[in-house]
């Protein structure tokens, strides 16, 4: 195992960089962070649309979110892989394909997190804001979202953990994220597949476990200092 790490450690961590494109664990992290960052505004928009009083907005968005959530991510990746070149006219790289698929997929899941976060505040906050004469948008911006986003933070970190795991599907379209790199290493070494894949699993574990513990800690801290005062 030691020799494996010595020989292939750097390749595992950063792929062929700097002699080639970024790969490995670094690419996994980069892709996840970028995907989640871009998915957030989409998720916010979709989530708020699902809560809109206008049916013309609510229904199509709900249908979209439901459809994406009922489809395997791999399906979305394939649609992006085969559909994007048809739509944009030129062949997009694996990174772009995976990014688009992840942003659409995570956007739909974030929409639900946003929806639950806002509905969890209860009607009273919106009523109080509207009773003061604030418009629906002003109420969202000044009262609802500041509270909802704070409550959603642990769920957002958990979604980040999910996104990291989702990047593994890049393997199937040949993106050099960490699972693909691991299989490349396995092909070269050939005689130690169990060790290579255990190493892969362990790397994911360390990353995701640390993040989910962090989310847990955030949730705990949120519970101990409640921001909402409850009347008797």
């Amino acid at each position: 195992m030691r020799e494996l790490i010595d020989t292939y450690g750097v390749y595992f961590l950063v792929g062929q960089y700097p002699n080639g494109p970024l790969g490995g664990l670094a690419l996994t992290l980069l892709l996840s962070a970028l995907a989640l960052l871009l998915a957030l505004p989409l998720g916010l928009a979709l989530g708020l649309a699902r809560l809109s009083p206008w049916r013309a907005l609510r229904w199509p968005v709900s249908a979209f979110v439901f459809t994406v959530r009922a489809t395997p991510l791999l399906m979305v990746v394939f649609w992006a892989y085969f559909g994007l070149p048809a739509l944009t006219g030129y062949k997009s790289g694996q990174f772009a394909t995976m990014l688009v698929a992840l942003v659409v997929f995570d956007g739909a899941y974030l929409a639900e997190i946003v929806r639950a976060g806002v509905q969890g505040l209860g009607r009273g906050q919106m009523e109080a804001a509207r009773a003061l004469g604030l418009s629906h948008l002003q109420a969202l911006r000044s009262v609802i979202l500041p509270q909802a986003l704070r409550h959603m933070l642990p769920s957002l970190v958990n979604q980040f953990v999910s996104t990291i795991k989702e990047t593994s599907l890049g393997y199937i379209i040949g993106l050099s994220e960490v699972s693909f790199i691991a299989s490349q290493i396995n092909t070269q070494v050939f005689t130690k597949p169990a060790q290579v894949y255990l190493w892969l699993g362990f790397s994911y574990f360390v990353l995701c476990f640390a993040l989910s513990r962090f989310a847990y800690w955030m949730q705990d801290r949120g519970q101990r200092r409640p921001a909402t005062a409850t009347p008797a």
Binding site: R130, A131, L132, G133, L134, P146, A227, P231
Partner: protein, 246 residues
């Protein structure tokens, strides 16, 4: 100032308000009381359109407020509403709760809003809690901040929806004192409440509601001493001496 003209509301087939016909003059203090489910809160909430109506009209200063095309936000900015559950914004301090609307709606500059907020908090006896968050305040204090927040809009009309029902008994008095002060200052108030002593002392008129209808309207003295309608008599008997062993 406020006129209800044959106002009716249904939830599906359930009648929440039935042919309400009342007028409330400027400067009047009206208390609405009645058993649970009588529609008193619903009636109150139709005044600032937190509830809709299916029939009839509600006029404020002559204007039909449920007419399509009415600027709801402008209407609400001129009506102060105090909730049973306070509904303070927990992520803002008491001061910020009071400055949010005036600044957001462009009525006051930031410094003017701050000055007004401090004055209002002093008026409700909470100047020293201006920078406290709702979680750090007692129920009675929170409700008083809620009243200050509503007053920050300088409304000519204030609506109170069971303002003391969610409070521990020892905090009821401090909130009622604030409302009493507003009444003395000539504010038009409509208050839904169970606090009969308060009603007797402060109200110009009492409306008794049951099953969506106004069954009796009288001055407090007449209502509490000589209730006419049998339901009103029953109601007063129930709340007065529920466990009397006589």
């Amino acid at each position: 100032m406020i006129g209800f003209e044959r106002v009716s509301k249904w939830y599906g087939s359930y009648p929440a308000l039935v042919e309400i016909d009342e007028t409330i003059a400027r400067g009047e203090v009206v208390v609405i009381c009645g058993p649970s489910g009588s529609g008193k809160s619903t009636l109150l909430r139709t005044v600032n359109r937190l509830e809709s109506i299916q029939a009839g009209r509600i006029r404020i200063e002559g204007r039909d407020i449920h007419a399509p095309g009415t600027d709801v936000n402008a209407l609400r900015a001129r009506i102060g509403f105090v909730f049973q559950q306070f509904n303070l914004f927990p992520h803002l301090t008491a001061l910020q709760n009071c400055t949010l609307a005036p600044v957001q709606l462009g009525r006051l500059s930031r410094s003017q809003a701050l000055e007004q907020a401090r004055a209002l908090l002093a008026r409700v006896g909470l100047a020293h809690k201006a920078d406290a968050y709702p979680a750090e305040l007692s129920g009675g204090q929170q409700q008083r901040v809620a009243i200050a927040r509503a007053l920050a809009q300088q409304p000519p009309l204030m609506l109170f929806d069971e303002p003391t029902s969610a409070l521990d008994p020892e905090m009821v008095g401090e909130v009622l004192a604030v409302i009493r002060g507003l009444a003395k200052d000539g504010m038009t108030l409509i208050c839904v409440t169970h606090e009969m002593g308060f009603a007797r002392e402060v109200a110009d008129r009492v409306l008794f509601m049951d099953a969506g209808r106004v069954l009796e309207r009288a001055s407090p003295a007449e209502f509490f001493q000589r209730p006419q309608h049998p339901r009103a008599q029953q109601f007063l008997a129930d709340i007065r001496l529920p466990f009397d062993a006589r």
